[in-house]
Structure formats: C-alpha cells, structure tokens
Symmetry: C2
Subunit: 317 residues, 2 copies
C-alpha cells in the first residue's frame, strides 16, 4: 500500500496529478492507501483524495502533517517567479525555508520516503553556453530561480545522506495551463493561447522570435508519475535534472494554434511589449539537452499542435 501526499495539491498541476493518481489507483506497483492534496487553503479534493490545509512556512505544522506517514511526497508548492521577484522575503520563506521544512519533515519520518520536488528551468541563465547540458551551471537570474536552485542542493544532499529518496525535476514552462493569468512571469506563455482559444483577447509582451522551452500539462503529469517509478540507483548522485521539453518560438507556437484551431483565435492576440517582464524572461533559457531525463524514461510532447489539442480536450473553460 502506498500513501501519497501532494503539497501544492490545490494548484492546477497538483489537481491534475491527484486526478491521475486517483484514476490509476496505484503507484510503484502498490495500491494507494491514502491520497491527499495539501495546500495553504485545504483544496476541494478530487474523488478518492483528501484535502488538507498546510502552510509550509510553519515548520511544526509541516512536521506534524508529514509525520502522519507518507511513502511519496510531491512538493509542488511555490511562490511563482513574478511574485518572488516582487516580494523577496516571501519567496525566501516559502521557496527556500518552506522547502527545507518539507525535506526535514520527510527526513524525520525515518523511512526514507520519496520526495519529488518541482524545480524549474528558471535555475538556468546568464553567462553560460547557449545549450544547457546536464552539467551546465545553475545560474538563476531571478530570486525564484535562486530559491529553487538552492533547495535542489538539499534534495540531493539529503538523499545522499539517506534521509530521503529525493527527485528534483526542473520543469519547462508549462503551457497551455488552464485557469487565469497568474503572477508568474511566464504567465503570457499560456495566456496567448488559452484566452484566444476561449474567445478572449490576450497580449503577447515579447517578440514573436522569443523561444520557449515548454511542456504540456498532460506530459508533466505523466512525468511526475514516472518520477516515482524510477529506480533510485538509476538516478545517480545528483537527484535533480531538467525534464524533457520542446523549444519553439512564439511564432511557431502560434502557427500550431492556427493549424489546430483556425485563424480566428490568432487574431485575438495583441502585441504590446513589456520591458520589465521581458527583462525577466530574456534571462531564461530555451535550449536544453535533457540527456539524463531521457535516459531515465521521461518524455516530451510530440508537437505543440498536440498540446493545443490537449488543452481543447482537457481544459477549455
């Protein structure tokens, strides 16, 4: 029997992951004994799950909830890039100290539970060669990236110590994400598809040549499930690595939307540059060679056309 806790279980990935777990009813070859979605406000759980309230900046509360006993802990909770940039101390509290609270809580179980941590491609950037390899320096250009990158070291180190069985996944930008725009600097990378596909206008704040390293929600959920299945020994010493994604420019992605959904949605995009946002996202990297993840069996989208189709099937409001 397997007990699975999703921290950040109220976010859109957390919900999709919970739904996928409930649907398959098992993980690592064992039936689910317990499935919980924890978030700052207890989420409305998916069928088969519980919704729990957890503030990961509260070390005692985090230790208590994790202390109930879990075999696999997904830690997806974070202050997103734009907000962590605007509110430095809040980002530090949640993304660094909160993540440490989760890791220490998992360690305290004494059972070496799996902790699957979502990091981000925002850990890369700056004066490093254009193609990101598995051995390329993390060189974050934002506070969010710095906090994620720092937390990664403890996922790996605490795994080496045998405290946890950590797996840190550097997610590409996830598009098309459902819902509303948020404070992530990458928010437009979904808005310019999601809003037009729902009959609304959206602004693109960067030029059409801007390249994006991206992944669909459906493939991310598949990779998060796979992360729990990978043999610990196969991961090697460094437990953190870039997930596969695709590199496409805004223009290529819009062409894909046109192919799937016709001309009308494209006409709803406006093009007003935003210098502040552009400065953040130009610090990100779009060319990644995720050899380690591919060797471990993680997957990527076949095309952005597929991704548009997934959105229309799964998420259109």
């Amino acid at each position: 029997m397997t007990r699975v806790l999703i921290i950040g279980g109220g976010g859109f990935i957390g919900v999709k992951l919970a739904r996928a777990l409930a649907a398959q009813g098992a993980l690592r070859g064992k039936p689910l004994a317990r499935l919980a979605q924890a978030d700052l406000r207890a989420p409305d759980p998916v069928a088969g799950a519980e919704g729990l309230a957890l503030d990961i900046t509260d070390a005692d509360a985090t230790a208590a909830l994790i202390g109930q006993g879990w075999d696999v802990i997904y830690h997806l909770a974070a202050i997103v890039s734009g907000q962590a940039e605007a509110e430095f101390d809040l980002g530090m509290r949640v993304n660094l100290h909160g993540s440490l609270n989760v890791l220490q809580g998992a360690r305290a179980l004494g059972t070496c539970p799996q902790v699957i941590f979502t990091s981000s491609v925002a850990v890369y950037g700056g004066d490093i060669p254009p193609m990101i390899e598995d051995w390329t320096a993390l060189n974050p250009q934002t506070s969010y990236g710095a906090q994620k990158a720092a937390a990664e070291f403890f996922v790996t180190d605490m795994s080496r110590k045998g405290f946890i069985d950590g797996r840190g996944l550097r997610l590409p930008t996830i598009t098309v994400r459902p819902g509303k725009p948020n404070a992530a600097a990458s928010s437009f990378m979904s808005s310019i598809f999601r809003e037009p596909l729902q009959g609304e206008a959206a602004n693109c704040p960067v030029g059409e040549d801007y390249p994006i390293w991206h992944c669909s929600p459906r493939v991310i959920v598949k990779n998060l499930l796979h992360a729990a299945e990978v043999d610990a020994a196969a991961l090697g010493q460094n437990r953190c690595f870039a997930l596969p994604g695709r590199t496409d420019t805004v223009a290529e992605m819009i062409a894909a939307m046109r192919k799937v959904a016709g001309d009308e949605p494209v006409s709803r995009i406006t093009w007003n540059r935003d210098a502040v946002l552009e400065k953040i996202v130009m610090g990100w990297r779009a060319h990644v060679n995720p050899q380690k993840a591919l060797a471990l069996g993680f997957v990527r989208d076949a095309s952005f056309e597929d991704n548009i189709r997934f959105f229309l099937e799964d998420d259109r409001a």
Copy 2:
C-alpha cells in the same frame, strides 16, 4: 574612511587577513576607520583591530552587530567539511542559515555594503566533465559543499537586487595552513607538510597520485584583499567564481618539500589509507580553469616550493 568586519575573524585566515588589513591601513583607497574580528568567541585581535563575539546562527545578534555599520564584511565563518558531514544540522544552521543571517544583516544596513563570502572548491564534483570551467555545474558531494553552494545563490541574487555588493570566492584547498589538524577532510593536505616541517610525524590517508587544487595562505589573503578592490560592474551577474589555484599531486608536493627542506621531513610521513576520508576527498575536483578570476586580476602561487617557503617564513611553530 572604511569600516571592515571579518566574521570568522578568529580563524587562521581571518587573523592573517586582519593583520594584512591593519598593516596596509586602508582598503579601496580609503583609510580604515574600524577593523573588527568577530568569531564565536571574541578573538584576541591583531594590533589595530577589535575582537567581537558573534554567533551567526543568532539572527538578532547578527543583525545587531552588522547594524553597527560596515562598508566591507568578510564572511569566512563556517563549519568545516568533515564536521558538517558528521553533524548535518549544525552545518545547516551555520553554513546555510548563519550565512543567510549575515546576508540579511548586511541588506538591512540599506547601504549596499560589500559582502565577501568564502565558498569552496567542495561545491564541485561528481558526474561533470573533468575540467571545471566557470560555467560548470556546482555538484557538491558533501553537505558542506551543498551548504556553501546554496549560500552562493543568495550572494548573487541579493547583489542583483541591490541589497548587497556580494563577492563569492570558491577557495582552493589552503595549504600549508598553520596550527593543528582540524575536522576538515582536507586537513591532511596541510598536515603532511606542516608536521614534518616542524619535526613531527603525519599520516597521508590517500595515495601519492591524488591531485590537489591548492593555494597558499599568503596568496589567499592577497586575493581576499583584491576581492574588495574589484569593480562591481566587472563581476557580472554571477558574483561567485573559483579563485585561481595550482593542481599538483601529493607526490609532486612532497618533491617540492624535499627540494626546499631536504629529505628529513619527507621521512616523517606515514601512508595509511583512510577509506571514509578518501571517499569524501575523491569527490572533490582538482582541475579548474578559473578564467573569470584571472581576468579580474586574482592570482595564484608560482610553485609549491614557494608555498613551503612561505610556511617556513610565516608560520612554522
């Protein structure tokens, strides 16, 4: 006028740095208005300095002491590698949280003071190409390395935010260090020269082909002084980089000692391998191409013979 605080000012580098600062009486072209050595126990200060007690794990005490006002803060204090490996939580408290307390204290001054942070070549290792370049991933193989690497991200990020003017220097192994063996896994890298040169026996726990990336205390102090002089704009976005050093094997270093000090000291070395220690130090890297530091004017030893001579001149007990 310049006010300089050395945290970890009671350690051997801190003392040498304080002495060098007091001797030159100025930094960044301005006379010293205040020079203080802070450590867990207030150090006996060098002539011209004050000795202050500071526990950097105490956020309030750290904020209060730093709040007195400083233009340049050297943060050299750390739990060394062997001890941080044995006492994980202590290492986290001092090397990560203590460093964050120093950075936050400096930020709270509101004057964007210089913070010169000593990181370590222990941030490298594992599955990365043999030669460390400026863009090579930090891939620590020890808790000490993980804690230093994580702190580096905040030196850079808080500099980008304009909170501090940070400079993070990845020190090579410093040999020949004066004094007694300590809990650093690298302790033998000084012992096998220091003890024999002082008429005592010392054990070498690794084979003679083991390569070491090293630097003399005299050159480290020179580089720490230089770190305060480098123009902030020249540092680029990533404020942390490897200092220059030399790569020599144990055999080459012993040959250098023989050349300077004759056969007698070499005969005092015993050769008993230590598997635990070897596992730690084999995770370190000895081949580094410190282009950024060299371009910024940091220097390295001309030879290990020089280094032996420096020890005989400066430090022999």
